[in-house]
Symmetry: C2
Subunit: 357 residues, 2 copies
């Protein structure tokens, strides 16, 4: 796989619940892991300098870009655009991707505002109608990619196919797979099940196979945790509900486990003996490890980190951003889309010619 | 709360992956818990008699009804209706509710066929456009009711309101609450979020409050596990995906936990010491304990058990059926609907009169 040697990552230092304290500490962690990374930090200069004081290596690897405006976590997308276009740390981090100064932008700011700004600044790709947010989902097999987890509500068949291609490209980059398996999320695996759009997308994916993905068919909610396929495709409403339901269930079971393990002396003793096992489990379930939603379908890659994450979690979002940039996700998606649409128009031409004879 | 002293439960003895062996053993367990229950058992007489041999008490409390046809787990709804109407064990169990011989029917047969037969035989209630399947969801607060988890795809605002009323009535019966809290499942809690139908339903529930429910507003996927509200309302596609996603996540974490606890000697020892705690946890997460989807909105109550469950799980579905019948769920739903529609038409009349003056 081709790899770029150096990446420049634009950071919205003011995003998230904790601002520069977390974003800059997270960037410092990410830099330790890949010392050839360069950062562009956008935000209030005083606050950034203060947070940078502890990290001389990061300071040396970064350029600082003062911004007067910070988008707040509670700002509505329209409000954020009105007040923050061209001048907020969020906008300028995204804009650095547009101008080519940075390879990718990372923000822990609010999702609605970030998507609105990213769409406005980067625009959707020529062949794509709607962007999607892709999440990394821990599974029994390892990890899968699930999209859309909340960029827009609803998707028609063509949009679901676009999501399949974009998710497939991301799986190739992230998991190093030649031809990732892709499933459409549905309420049954039979062809007659589900909404019209999903059945239509399934039919099209069968009839016009996409070179770089291996279409598996429909999958159900419990296939997410099993890791039945590498990429699960759904529209944003269902995807968002599924993601939050899984997060909620994991928290619920962790709470049950904690209550059970502290109820009796014997259980407490057992817990102490098995502590390394519990640590392993906690590690597996750690939401910080899979932090980062990838905005796909725009002319540039933007990564959304959880707003409430800590430095470790923000570093994970930067790791993800770095992987997307190093392996050139953008061009892979563009190439896949182009080849698909070329093949599609060739087929349409074939058909119209055969109709004429 | 008014309670009936005796219930008669119609059992589709042939339904499920294991047939009479499990359904009859399950009924025997349920009878031990409530010796005043009466059963009508529908199925192949030879197979039922064989399974009954070990349970003389159940035999004494049951009437047997021989049926030549059994609906298979893989039958399509249309196929099941064609081959099994009037004569299959599934149909006849439902029909016993229609004729009033039984108070409620229980089947572990396939969901699609059961819903098709239940709709065809019992018909939807006068005020209800579409039935729903309600599931019981274990939460950090105890239990909630979630509907629809897969009866039909999509729901308009009025249908979501119907679901709210039916789920509310079920929560009153099952949890003994005066005025259960109800939330609409959405991808954000702000009023501007989500599909039109959900926003419209939310607006109507605010403007025309329903006497017997306490409308909470929108809830998100992670509120399911938290137990933020007593009743979570959604359309069947999203509800089904959420339910299966939660089940899949629970299984995934159980697998992680098992792997962690058997990896080292110390962990194994810790596991042995904390065994009672793990048993408690397993008990909490036991899907058999909350087995049973309740079909609401039909002129009679039908309970769907998991097809693959064992006797303990099937007994839990019978327990649920019994509770619904003893506390007269049907009449509670009917009364709520009537009072709501009377109030609605009175308001419409008021409005048209005030328009005329």
């Amino acid at each position: 796989m081709t790899e770029r040697n150096e990446t420049t990552i634009a950071i919205d230092a003011m995003g998230g619940d904790h601002g520069p304290k977390v974003t800059i500490a997270g960037a410092a962690l990410a830099l330790e892991r890949r010392p050839d990374t360069r950062f562009m930090l956008f935000g209030d200069e005083t606050a950034m300098r203060e947070a940078l004081a502890d990290y001389p290596a990061l300071q040396a690897a970064s350029s600082l870009h003062h911004c007067e405006v910070s988008v707040r976590m509670e700002d509505k997308p329209s409000q954020a655009l009105r007040q923050g276009r061209h001048k907020s740390s969020m906008w300028r981090a995204i804009d650095a991707v547009k101008t080519g100064e940075a390879d990718v932008a990372v923000s822990a700011g609010n999702t609605g505002a970030l998507m609105a700004m990213a769409k406005f600044c980067l625009r959707t790709m020529a062949e794509i109608e709607r962007p999607a947010i892709a999440a990394i989902w821990p599974t029994l097999r390892g990890q899968s990619i699930v999209l859309d987890v909340g960029a827009t509500i609803g998707a028609d068949a063509q949009q679901l196919i676009d999501f399949s291609m974009m998710g497939g490209a991301m799986a190739r980059v992230l998991f190093g797979l030649e031809r990732p398996t892709v499933g459409l999320l549905n309420i049954g695996v039979e062809e007659v099940k589900g909404q019209d759009e999903i059945r239509e997308a399934g039919r099209l994916l069968k009839e016009t196979p996409i070179e770089r993905i291996d279409y598996h068919g429909f999958v159900e909610g419990d296939d997410l945790g099993k890791g039945t396929v590498d990429v699960v495709v759904t529209e944003g409403f269902t995807g968002n509900i599924a993601l939050k339901t899984a997060e909620g269930t994991a928290k619920q079971i962790a709470a049950y486990l904690k209550a059970a393990m502290t109820r009796t002396w014997l259980a407490k003793l057992g817990y102490i003996l098995a502590k390394s096992a519990f640590d392993r489990l906690r590690d597996k379930m750690d939401p910080r490890k899979v932090n980062g939603g990838v905005f796909l379908g725009l002319n540039g890659i933007v990564i959304k980190s959880h707003g409430g994450t800590d430095a470790e979690g923000f570093a994970a979002a930067i790791d993800l951003a770095d992987a997307m940039a190093r392996h050139d996700l953008m061009n892979k998606i563009a190439a896949d889309l182009e080849s698909f649409h070329r093949r599609l128009s060739a087929e349409t031409k074939d058909q119209s010619e055969s109709t004429q004879t």
